[in-house]
């Protein structure tokens, strides 16, 4: 839950810069490389969240098995 909240906070921060169309917005500078950085970071964060969820599911089953014995 905590991780999801942190992710949501970061996402809102990124979204805030994405929608602000001012001249000094970094997302419009340097050939828009920051857009690519954001896209790859979102994909990687998604994969990490997926790994964390598999991890938690495994942990749950491990605990169940431990309690049963």
């Amino acid at each position: 839950m905590k991780i999801k909240l942190i992710f949501l906070f970061l996402l809102s921060f990124i979204a805030n810069s994405l929608f602000a169309q001012t001249q000094d917005n970094p997302f419009y500078s340097n050939g828009k490389i920051y857009v690519v950085v954001t896209v790859i970071s979102i994909i990687f964060t998604g994969i990490i969240i997926y790994l964390i969820q598999i991890d938690r599911r495994l942990r749950k089953t491990e605990k169940e098995l431990k309690d049963k014995n």
Binding site: I40, S41, I48, L51, E62
Partner: protein
């Protein structure tokens, strides 16, 4: 290290940092003939570091299996090799794309490329050998012995032999110097080392998920009440 968590977050943070920094920190005036593709150093090379780290853990656990005949070491060894092979395939694929646009071809008859491919096949053979034996203890014993031979041969083919040849286009082998000798500023180092640590942690994380799943299956079959 299988059940603890902290290093997972360290690894994920390092890789995320290397993605952001790897794309942004490079000084465009210092890119040499590689141009913008020099950034690939942060992504292509850590694949091989992760692979070698996993294969090293694999061979250590193969030796531990032969010492104790405890099946859990064989599970660790085999899953490390499986994820190691995956990272190797990623290394070959990313290297192939990089080669196409730096050297002009998807694959060149280079000692480094062929050596890495032979090393990859060695470990594919390990996985196939395992799958072809039905009896668990025989499977574990044979593949552990194979693994002890495969690891040094892999290191020789993928690492030592490419350094010994006279001509190679791959950095760090033959007559081509490694990235550490390039006249680059330290911006690459700042992201490269965290990327290596990060991807090794990621590889181990992916492996532990498979290992824990196998351990659960093992426990389930052990605790089955005879009826």
């Amino acid at each position: 290290m299988i059940y603890s968590n902290w290093w997972k977050y360290v690894g994920a943070a390092f890789v995320l940092y290397s993605i952001i920094g790897g794309l942004l920190f490079v000084n465009p005036n210092n890119l040499l003939f590689l141009d913008e593709t020099v950034r690939n150093l942060n992504f292509h090379v850590p694949m091989w570091f992760a692979m070698i780290a996993l294969l090293f853990i694999s061979v250590i656990n193969s030796i531990r299996y032969l010492k104790t005949f405890d099946i859990k070491y064989d599970i660790i060894a085999s899953k490390c090799a499986a994820v190691g092979v995956l990272f190797g395939l990623m290394g070959l694929a990313t290297g192939s794309v990089w080669a196409r646009f730096s050297w002009g071809d998807w694959w060149t008859a280079d000692a480094k490329l062929n050596g890495a491919a032979i090393g990859e096949l060695l470990y594919l053979a390990y996985l196939i050998l395992r799958n072809s034996i039905e009896e668990p203890s025989k499977k574990a014993r044979l593949s552990s012995v194979y693994s002890i031979f495969a690891f040094p041969i892999f290191i020789v083919f993928a690492w030592i032999y490419p350094k010994m040849v006279t001509n190679s286009m791959h950095p760090g082998s033959g007559d081509t110097v490694g990235f550490n000798k390039y006249p680059l500023n330290n911006n690459l180092r700042m992201t490269f080392y965290p990327a290596v640590i990060g991807w090794v942690c990621m590889g181990w994380w992916m492996t532990t998920l498979l290992i824990r799943n196998e351990f659960l299956i093992l426990n389930k079959s052990k605790n089955k009440t005879p009826d």
